[in-house]
């Protein structure tokens, strides 16, 4: 294992009495596409700005490529940043924007031109080299910003909400394009985003941030299927969180038997040890992992359809259980005809495998 490209140790940053980044330690390996995911004020942007050198930590150390970055100017760091607003120089052409960092390195004119052409090819903007930023669409500007940040061949590319200014359709295409460019350059990417879907699609690892701390650092799949806390479970995707009490171990290894106000007796998987009987926990089930049946004799629990939202690809149901608790269930619409959504006020039966549900202790 090589040394991590980025090593944070006990990094703290405060603005007045607001603690933006609270004692963070983290290693990021070279070649990762790492996402910092959190809401506004979670400290993700502050952390990115400290890596770029625009803010300095109050305490703790930031090492990039094995060197302590204390007192190192943004200009002298082996990182480049793609700004949320893109921050393209409005008085320069696309080629001049992309070549800006190269000219600062003191490269010869011909060398700058070659590298600019190479970068523009990478982001497929060769034809627009002589345009000014205001003559470009939002998606094209985004690619200029990316090319400009990559032109100096940084060890780490920092991307601040790279896709947030694009509309939904374009954002999806650009996500995949961004991953292709990531693969092509082999640079470590650190992406700040508030969009959990974007983080899930892009990242090899995600750090979920809240109030200046990492809540959980894991792969997208681990975060979704094995969230450690209710915050992460709720933040990533949709989930049903039901209060429950542990009544004992389940029928098989790793399962716990619970009593849940909303449903009655249930079993659910535990990530780690089964909590002792009497422990107050939460039952977490993803809406798509709950089966819904109009056959009232089917196994499971009773519920009534309160509301439904047809979204084309799937239908989202809001159910009410016999005890009055609300429950979300999603069903994919796999057939074009014949399959009708379950109507309002229909009594249904819901069921889920114990392995599909998770016990959360905090």
């Amino acid at each position: 294992m090589t040394a991590p490209i980025i090593r944070l140790r006990n990094v703290v940053k405060t603005f007045g009495d607001f603690t933006a980044v609270d004692d963070l330690s983290l290693d990021i390996d070279a070649g990762e596409l790492f996402c910092l995911l959190g809401g506004s004020g979670s400290g993700k942007s502050t952390l990115l700005r400290m890596l770029a050198g625009f803010e300095s930590p109050d305490s703790g150390t930031i090492e990039i490529d094995g060197k302590d970055m204390r007192g190192v100017d943004p200009a002298d760091r082996p990182v480049n940043m793609m700004f949320q607003s893109y921050a393209l120089f409005p008085h320069m052409t696309v080629a001049e924007n992309v070549g800006y960092g190269l000219r600062r390195m003191g490269l010869a004119k011909a060398e700058v031109a070659t590298q600019v052409a190479e970068m523009l090819r990478l982001v497929k903007l060769e034809a627009l080299a002589q345009r000014k930023p205001h003559q470009l669409s939002g998606g094209q500007r985004q690619r200029v910003a990316l090319a400009r940040a990559l032109a100096r061949k940084p060890k780490v590319l920092l991307l601040d909400e790279p896709l947030s200014a694009l509309d939904k359709k374009l954002r999806e295409d650009t996500q995949f394009e961004l991953m292709n460019i990531f693969d092509a350059t082999g640079t470590t990417f650190i992406v700040v985003t508030h969009d959990q879907e974007e983080a899930m699609v892009l990242a090899t690892r995600i750090a979920v941030m809240d109030a200046g701390k990492f809540v959980q650092v894991d792969t997208p799949r681990q975060l979704y299927e094995f969230p450690k806390t209710r915050f992460v479970a709720d933040f990533i995707g949709n989930i049903n969180l039901l209060e429950a009490t542990v009544t004992g171990p389940g029928r098989s290894e790793g399962l716990a038997a619970l009593h849940c106000e909303a449903l009655g007796a249930v079993e659910a998987a535990c990530d780690g040890e089964v909590p002792p009987a009497g422990a107050h926990v939460w039952l977490a089930v993803r809406p798509e992992k709950i089966a819904l049946s109009t056959d009232t004799a089917a196994p499971g629990y009773d519920a009534v359809v309160d509301d439904l939202g047809y979204r084309g690809g799937d239908t989202q149901y809001r159910l009410r259980t016999a005890s009055g608790a609300a429950l979300k269930v999603t069903k994919p619409n796999t057939e074009r005809q014949g399959q009708r959504p379950v109507d309002w006020d229909t009594p249904v039966r819901i069921a889920f495998a114990p392995e599909a549900a998770l016990v959360l202790r905090q």
Partner: protein, 317 residues
């Protein structure tokens, strides 16, 4: 199903009502627009274009004793106007060195003072634009505050500072730095100083407004891409503040060329600015036609280069 039935009807009739309302709005809107746009045009017509025409006509006449003190450019000949004026006054301007020297001297002083103003105002505007938002208004206020007293008063205050027995000379001699008072009044130095002092806010304000709008992330991007603070200024801040620089320079240069109070009070008597010449022709010489010709020629010499400049800068964008 239930939702579809509950969807409100009547949205069609709302759409139908729409065109007639915009029609009425459009008529009253067009009238209002014409009024709003027309008022300043009318104002300029009455108080600028008509007087300009009168001055031009006067410049074509010849001086006379009487009221008014010039011969008219047109005579009424049986209800038909007949041109009796001449362009002699303009020809006279080119023959007498005094006018060229005064004009070139004025342009030189105005250019120099504009440049000095820019050099002083740019750092000021930059600091104000980068100050805390609450502080900015206070600092701007301090820039504008001297404008609230009459410029004549401020010029007299400067005279008090600069004259032989004035504050600066007394202080210098009192401290033993100089033995004799330094001649500062009636020099070009005093003229430059006073113009810079008087016109500084006109330079600071447009510079401030462009620098304040400058996106801070552009400066961060430049730093991120390896630029030091000088390179950032030279390649990003300065080019992007050019509109403010141009506006400030025009606002200072144009009135400075025609300035006559400042050179009259502060400058040397043997090198008058064109404004003083104009003033002298009108008052001491009572030669209204030549004075008018000076005014028209000065305007033409100022306006034509600026129109060319404007066209080239419009082409660049």
């Amino acid at each position: 199903m239930a939702h579809a039935a509950a969807r409100p009807k009547g949205s069609v009739s709302d759409v139908r009502e729409h065109p007639s309302m915009t029609m009425r709005d459009r008529i009253s809107g067009a009238l209002g627009r014409r009024l709003v746009i027309g008022t300043p045009f009318l104002w300029l017509l009455i108080f600028f274009l008509v007087p300009f025409g009168i001055v031009f006509l006067v410049s074509l006449g010849a001086p006379e004793f009487g009221v008014p003190p010039y011969s008219p450019a047109f005579e009424w000949d049986g209800g038909v106007p007949r041109f009796v004026g001449s362009f002699d006054n303009y020809i006279f301007l080119t023959e007498d060195d005094l006018y060229w020297i005064a004009y070139l001297g004025s342009v030189k002083i105005a250019l120099g003072a504009t440049l000095l103003c820019l050099l002083v105002a740019y750092p000021m505007a930059y600091m104000i634009a980068r100050a805390e938002p609450g502080m900015r208004n206070i600092l701007l206020m301090l820039v504008i505050l001297p404008f609230w007293t009459s410029s004549l008063l401020r010029i007299y205050a400067l005279m008090g500072m600069l004259r032989q027995g004035g504050f600066i000379n007394s202080a210098l001699m009192g401290l033993g730095i100089t033995d004799a008072p330094i001649q500062m009044m009636q020099t070009d130095f005093a003229v430059y100083l006073t113009i810079v002092f008087t016109y500084l806010p006109l330079m600071v304000l447009p510079l401030y407004s462009t620098l304040e709008k400058l996106d801070g992330s552009l400066l961060e991007a430049a730093a991120d891409l390896g630029a030091n603070s000088f390179q950032t200024f030279w390649t990003v801040t300065l080019p992007l503040s050019l509109p403010g620089i141009l506006a400030g320079c025009l606002l200072v240069f144009i009135p400075a060329v025609g300035e006559f109070v400042i050179p009259d009070l502060m400058g040397a008597q043997d090198s008058p600015m064109i404004g003083n010449v104009l003033w002298g022709e009108f008052t001491r010489n009572r030669d209204w036609p030549v004075a008018s010709a000076v005014a028209i020629a000065m305007l033409a010499l100022l306006v034509i280069p600026f129109m060319l400049l404007r066209n080239t800068s419009a082409l660049r964008d």
